[in-house]
Amino acid sequence: MEKMVTHTGRMAPLVRPNIDTDQIIPQRFLKRIERAGFGRFLFADWAEDEEGEPIASFVLNRPEYRQASVLITGRNFGSGSSREHAPWSLQDRGFRVIIAPSFADIFRANCCKIGLLAVELAPDQVEALAALAEDDPAAIVTVDLEAQTVSAPGVDADFNIDPFVKHSLINGIDGIAATLERAHMITEYEELRPGFRPSLRGSGATNNGERHG
């Protein structure tokens, strides 16, 4: 996972409530089995017309927001599908921080896992940042994870974050390695699981796609 301690960059304002992951990356782009390269599909149905031509007025197509690395957006961002392709596409496009009044749970969890920082601020603070980005696309915002602050001209805000998420992001922790260090606890637990729990062992199901049953 990429480390995230502090980030300074330009903002792109896209303040609509309930932007769902189907908008962040439409389903037709989920067929690839690779992890990289999803950035070009970000907000595809808002960014391109039916012929695939860029819609010039869409905020991320406007030249003054091309360098933005902080997305300023509306409440309940990332609702809907659990597709991690959504944060992948934002990160691949160069975004390092998303600032919104609230996030959908699974989307936020997915962001944490890949080092994309989801910052919750009060609605008026989000609106102030969006207004700043609209007035001056070159305005710079600094997000300091250590200090839990967001600073931009005329805006100084504190944010809350789960201490474990903060620790993991700052140190770029490999969560799987950390859990595997506790493998003995997992094994102990497994030995105590009741025998009536279902298991696929010996189920006789197909492992190779041949017809069975």
Binding site: R16, D105, R197, G209
Partner: protein
């Protein structure tokens, strides 16, 4: 299973459901790290999102979808994971297959790289939708770090009004609490109207918990739960069944349990619902009409509603019963089980699809399909001019080629009416199976409570 100060709880996962879209990157990362799958015996996979629902004999014609399903099959084979592939009679939507096989039981922890994993809470399990990094974590460790969520009670007293179904109940709940009303919470559905739902109905309700933003939804186990599980392939047997029953009986939450958030509704207040907008909370009873943006207080909400109406090509004030449709989709993990197909067939029986409307009926699994055929439902649908198809996610999310054309309007029994969900520029109205079938016959939305009388 483990609690360490300063860290999230480590949750042991009793069942990991896997499908082709959110797993390939997880398997690849495991391979790259040289990590094995810890418990292939607690993992089960099926191909559902990208599989065709017609002409299966030709295989998958879309090269990327074919590669995705082939990758799933190869990953399962390499790791000793049971998979119900496209040719297996048990193949189907992962959230239909799990309960149908008896793999989902009360008190279990269940995850899947899919937001509609909340479905499985209907059987008294804690079932969480996760992303691909978490899929990798569970494959490697059979555990998931989780902060304890907040608890929410949604109590529905009394009985649903006649003609209202589990789908109408959950659409009505979401319309009232909003698409983020459940954020950060696990919802427990309680009350007489919930208790009287069948297991299929409970699955429909829990399935759409995610559409209210909840981490999970659940219903405490009772006799309906045990009766549903009993005799299924992976149900406990003999002495194990007795032990399981005793354990399940200990799980139901106390009548007086305290919740962080509570909502209480009268069952009689739920009527057949239809969505008019581009998120599942944008719904009204069938007797209602398309709202005006002016009816909303919040300025962002007004803009969002105006945008939704423009996308949906609807005028404020239009009665829902005057909205004509082009397509109908009956299926999905929300409403693709046998009871849903029976309800749709009852509305379609002896009638003909409206000229110009095309209808897809897509069973939730191969076994649901077989059951429906054994009951003659396929003939009811065919006689009515509805297409009878093979099992999969199909046009719920339109990844497999089943898709709306731009501008088409669809009555759908699925769970999301997001922009483009059923195809770019497609327009989706969420309804119950009976409402969808009646709309197919009428060519517009009708109130199933008075229709056809």
């Amino acid at each position: 299973m483990a609690r360490v100060p300063g860290e999230p709880d480590l949750l042991y996962i009793d069942l990991h459901l896997v499908h082709e879209v959110t797993s390939p990157q997880a398997f690849e990362a495991l391979r790259d790290a040289g990590r094995p799958v810890r418990r292939p015996d607690l993992t089960v996979a099926t191909a559902d999102h990208g599989v065709p629902t017609v002409d299966r004999g030709r295989g998958i014609t879309d090269a990327l979808s074919r590669q995705q399903v082939e990758t799933l099959m190869a990953n399962c084979k390499a790791n000793g994971i049971t998979v119900f592939g496209m040719d297996d009679p048990r193949q189907g939507i992962v959230h239909v297959v799990g309960p149908e096989q008896g793999l989902v039981q009360p008190g279990m922890t269940i995850v899947c790289g899919d937001s509609h994993t909340s479905t499985h809470g209907a059987l008294g399990a804690l079932a969480l939708g996760i992303g691909t990094s978490e899929v990798e974590h569970v494959l490697a460790t059979q555990t998931l770090p989780q902060q304890k969520p907040r608890s929410m009670a949604i109590t529905v007293d009394g009985r649903l009004s006649p003609g209202a179904t589990a789908k109408d109940l959950i659409l009505g709940v979401i319309a009232r609490i909003g698409v983020d009303g459940g954020t950060g919470h696990v919802i427990e559905y309680r009350g007489a109207a919930i208790r009287s739902l069948s297991m299929e109905g409970r699955m429909t309700v829990c399935n759409m918990s995610i559409e209210a933003g909840a981490r999970a939804g659940m219903v405490g186990p009772d006799d309906t739960t045990a009766d549903y599980i009993n005799g299924r392939p992976f149900a406990p047997k003999d002495k194990g069944w007795d032990q399981a029953l005793e354990y399940w009986g200990s799980l139901a939450s106390d009548e007086a349990a305290a919740f962080d958030t509570e909502h209480r509704f009268d069952g009689a207040s739920f009527e057949p619902y239809v969505t008019w907008g581009t998120n599942p909370s944008q719904a009204v009873p069938i007797g209602g009409s398309v709202p005006s943006p002016d009816e909303f207080d919040d300025v962002q909400e007004r803009q969002a509603v105006a945008r939704a109406l423009e996308y949906m090509a609807l005028e404020p004030g239009t009665p829902m019963t005057e909205i004509g449709i082009d397509r109908v989709f009956i299926g999905s993990c929300t409403n693709g089980r046998i009871e849903d197909l029976r309800a749709a067939a009852a509305a379609a029986a002896g009638r003909k699809v409206h000229p110009g409307v095309s209808v897809m009926v897509v069973p939730g699994s191969g076994l649901v399909k077989a059951q429906a055929e054994a009951e003659g439902l396929d003939r009811v649908f065919s006689d009515a001019g509805f297409e009878w198809r093979d099992a999969g996610c199909s046009m719920c999310l339109a990844m497999n080629g089943d898709s709306l054309y731009p501008g088409e309007r669809c009555a759908s029994t699925s769970n999301r009416n997001f922009e483009g969900r059923q195809g770019p520029a497609g327009r989706t109205h969420l309804v119950s199976p009976a409402m969808a079938a009646a709309a197919a016959i009428s060519g517009r939305f009708v109130d199933v409570r008075v229709w056809g009388q």
